[in-house]
């Protein structure tokens, strides 16, 4: 098993968990009484915690653990869910996301993360009421027990100089076999943070030299440290059960923050707590087994599993009555003696599960119990030695789907695109065979074969485009959070309604949608929707409604974003546009209200009185329009003053094959997207009217401005005329208008796969992209809108 593969998987799943948690938290806010939502949320956090524990990302685990404890309280009804709890949990999840990003970048967490993690965990725990029923921390936690009240015996026996308020007393008794685990307890003890005093604890009788076993550790350590509990937890994190800690209570009045919340306090747990501890232990046991079954190879995973199982047993041991304790001790010994192989551990753990963890019977080998999540479920008859496939394949229980890295899909798209282009060479070949080599039979056979290959290639093209289709919902996911946070920040009440999340569109389209959509929403929230007071005064309900709808129509996806806010004031827009010099005053007044509202799309426009940091200056609707049009989409806007605004985005379903018209100008070949072409026409030189720098002609009674492609592209030659002295003019549709592009010659149409320009050429204006032609040449495809 490759550690980095497991780590990648952890990161993927952790991110999924966080997404799910975020979504659930928002759902719960809307339906606080829905227990299924709460349970679902709890399960997800629980899974996340389990996964964190396997990797010993203690900072992350601390935060998630605190979240889980809080949720447990909410779930059992001891704490009422509130906005405050939601905020704390969301903040904790955000921090967890950052920690996971750090893990993804560096492979581990550094000490810099400990403080914020602790702060987040404390914030969560503060919301848990302390009470007699407060749950004891789970057995796998790294917190060490510290009794608050009576002095333990071992402390009483020490001279008073060992008990100093503010200092922590630790009795570290390594287990006898610790050397075989590669531990050096002396080194660990001497490196204790904040070490003030260290004394060796030796047995009364070492025995005779002949029978002395130097590898049976019988040395203990008494340590006095001024470090805080968190640092000590971390230092002794691998051997918590081998340490007893005592911190003398501070005099009354001093803050009890010396001990971080989350330590176990009860020395005699109530039966309810014990039962809960057992349940938790069973869950962890099952989950650990499932994890091990998924990655059984290698001694390191077996080692890790063994350690976890041992801790589970050890964690419960102190709370058990004496006879059970000996049984558990025997179990631990048996576990330590197991060979380091996944199957051995799994087999032992299954049969031990029933006896070690009493109370409710546990389904050891069978798949997901009701409390474990999708990651834990496995079919009972699955061979634990079965090789787990590539690092990116993870079968989710139930749904037959694969998780694949995006770059693999992109590679497939490229390859299929190349195939589509390559196959187009075959007709050329057939032609040459016939005309140049006189091989008519051969030509025909080539054509037949081409037909077959053509069909297959087109099917492949179609199939891969389907793979790239993603539901629009992936973009919508962020909205819930955005709307919630923004509306709270602005003091507005907004209800977000989303419809049609399953509508699918090409991945590129979806990705280029995210930012424009978010911006449009922010606009609505910031400028469109009013505060409750204003709304009520206007006779509207206090809660504003923001509706996002996606649907498919023909080969397009339509997205409607509607709000019932204040709408756009045409007069204000007119004024601002004139003020900023975007339009002359008389033209502004000549516009109808509906047209005036469209002025918001002009670059440099913003009517916000106060440029808020959210959606004020700089990022206007013009940027939204540009982004949408870059993927061949369009934006339209309607608004009614006082009633609301509706914005519609229309996008192509897939960015597959583009039909282009090929033209020649100045010796170069270019492509123009066919959907912009109105007609091709030949215009005689004397039909062109020159007026200052501009040229126009009359077509079907309409004046059509003309531009020469040669001058637009700064080509060296002048437009050529044909034998009859006519120019070739390509009439294009730009918005509502027609414009004629003077070229040298038309060269027919073609189907190409348009690739946007990347890298150094990416910023080039005037080109929609490039395409590879059947004969290997590159065709530059124009973007007339950007050029003109």
């Amino acid at each position: 098993m490759n550690t980095s593969e497991v780590l990648d998987q952890f990161i993927l799943e952790a991110r999924d968990c966080l997404d799910a948690v975020g979504q659930r938290l928002l759902d719960i806010e809307r339906n606080p009484q829905d227990t299924t939502l709460l349970n679902d949320l709890f399960r997800t956090v629980h899974t996340l915690k389990g996964n964190c524990g396997l990797f010993e990302f203690t900072a992350l685990e601390r935060v998630v653990h605190a979240g889980e404890d809080l949720l447990e309280q909410v779930r059992s009804g001891q704490v009422q869910y509130s906005g405050e709890i939601a905020d704390a949990l969301l903040a904790a999840m955000d921090l967890s996301g950052e920690l996971i990003d750090a893990i993804a970048t560096h492979g581990q967490l550094g000490p810099a993360h400990d403080a914020p993690a602790l702060a987040a965990a404390s914030a969560l725990r503060r919301l848990i009421p302390a009470g007699p029923g407060a749950a004891a921390a789970s057995a796998a936690s790294a917190a060490l027990p510290a009794t608050a009240s009576a002095l333990p015996d071992w402390v009483q026996a020490l001279p008073g100089s060992w008990q100093a308020p503010g200092l922590c007393l630790i009795r570290y008794q390594p287990e006898p076999t610790c050397f075989f685990k590669g531990e050096d307890p002396l080194a660990l003890a001497r490196q204790t943070p904040g070490l003030r005093r260290l004394r060796l604890l030796t047995p009364a009788d070492w025995g005779r030299p002949e029978s002395f076993d130097c590898y049976d550790c019988r040395l203990g350590f008494l340590i006095l440290s001024d470090a805080d509990d968190a640092a000590l937890d971390h230092h002794f994190r691998y051997v918590p059960e081998q340490c007893d800690r005592f911190r003398p209570p501070r005099p009354a009045g001093v803050d009890a923050a010396a001990r971080p919340p989350g330590d176990e306090t009860p020395s005699d747990p109530a039966p309810a707590a014990l039962a809960r501890l057992r349940r938790r232990q069973q869950q962890l046991w099952t989950e650990q087994l499932s994890l091990l079954e998924r990655h059984p190879g290698g001694s390191s995973s077996a080692q890790a599993a063994r350690q976890v199982l041992d801790r589970l047993l050890a964690g419960l041991e102190p709370w058990l009555p004496a006879p059970e304790r000996t049984a558990v001790a025997a179990q631990r010994a048996a576990l330590a003696a197991l060979p380091l192989s996944g199957s051995a551990v799994i087999d032992w753990a299954r049969q031990a599960a029933d006896s070690a963890l009493t109370a409710t019977p546990v389904d050891g080998p069978t798949p997901a119990t009701s409390t474990s999540s999708a990651t834990a479920g496995r079919p009972a008859d699955r061979d634990p030695h079965a090789d787990d496939d590539s690092s990116t394949g993870a079968e989710r229980q139930g749904a037959r789907s694969l998780r694949v890295a995006q770059d693999k899909i992109d590679r497939l798209v490229d390859l299929i695109g190349e195939m589509v282009v390559a196959k187009n060479a075959l007709p050329y070949l057939a032609q040459r065979a016939e005309q140049h080599f006189g091989q008519r039979e051969l030509a025909r056979e080539i054509k037949n074969q081409y037909a077959v290959i053509n069909r297959i290639a087109e099917d492949m093209q179609h199939a891969i485009m389907q793979v790239r289709m993603m539901p629009v919902g992936t973009v919508f996911q962020r909205f819930g959070r955005l709307v919630r946070d923004l509306s709270r920040r602005l003091g507005k009440e907004v209800e977000l309604r989303v419809e049609g999340e399953d509508t699918e569109a090409d991945k590129n389209v979806i990705e280029s949608l995210a930012d424009p959509l978010i911006h449009v929403l922010r606009n609505s929230l910031d400028h469109g929707l009013e505060t409750p007071a204003v709304r009520i005064a206007a006779g509207k309900p206090a809660t504003g409604c923001l509706q996002v709808r996606a649907r498919q129509e023909g080969d397009r996806v339509l997205l409607d974003i509607e709000d019932d806010g204040a709408g756009i004031d045409p007069d204000r827009v007119r004024r601002k546009a004139v003020e900023r010099g975007l339009i002359p005053a008389d033209r502004a007044h000549a516009l109808s209200d509906a047209d005036a509202v469209q002025l918001v799309f002009l670059p440099g426009f913003s009517t916000a009185e106060q440029v808020s940091d959210l959606s004020g200056r700089g990022v206007g609707l013009d940027v939204v329009r540009a982004a949408v049009e870059r993927v061949n989409g369009s934006v339209s806007l309607r608004s009614q003053r006082g009633r609301g605004t509706q914005i519609q985005l229309s996008l192509p379903l897939s960015m597959a094959i583009t039909h282009v018209m090929m033209i020649r100008a100045g010796g170069c070949r270019f492509g123009v997207p066919m959907d912009l072409v109105l007609e091709t026409v030949r215009v005689a030189a004397d039909e062109i009217h020159h007026f200052k720098q501009a040229m126009t002609t009359v077509l079907r009674g309409r004046i059509v401005p003309l531009r020469a492609l040669h001058s637009l592209l700064a080509l060296e030659e002048e437009p050529r005329r044909n034998a009859e002295g006519e120019h070739a003019v390509l009439v294009l549709r730009l918005g509502q208008e027609a414009i004629g592009l003077i070229v040298d010659e038309f060269e027919g149409t073609n189907d190409i796969i348009l690739r946007p320009l990347e890298g150094v050429l990416g910023g080039l204006r005037g080109f929609a992209g490039s395409a590879l032609m059947g004969d290997g040449s590159v065709l530059m495809v124009l973007n007339p809108k950007e050029m003109l």
């Binding site: 005093r197 070492w206 040395l219």
Partner: protein, 79 residues
């Protein structure tokens, strides 16, 4: 080499690891009156420390690291 065994003396040099414990133990069993020379010892594994504490051989010299010297001393304590 952290351990150098001579006829009447066994010398520890630098950092003595866990394996040194076994070497020293075997040597001490074979040389009950042997002397353990620590003057060039800079550190030792727990196993070796407990071997020295259990068998209480005659020690010569002090380890250069004062904490270790204190632990081998009468109080078995570092302050």
């Amino acid at each position: 080499m952290p351990v150098r065994a001579l006829k009447t003396v066994i010398k520890l040099e630098g950092h003595a690891d866990a394996e040194a414990a076994e070497t020293v133990l075997t040597w001490l069993r074979q040389h009950p009156a042997g002397v353990v020379d620590l003057s060039r010892c800079e550190g030792m594994h727990t196993a070796l420390l407990q071997t020295l504490l259990a068998l209480r051989p005659t020690l010569r010299g002090q380890p250069s690291e004062p904490g270790l010297a204190a632990l081998l001393g009468p109080n078995q304590e570092i302050t």
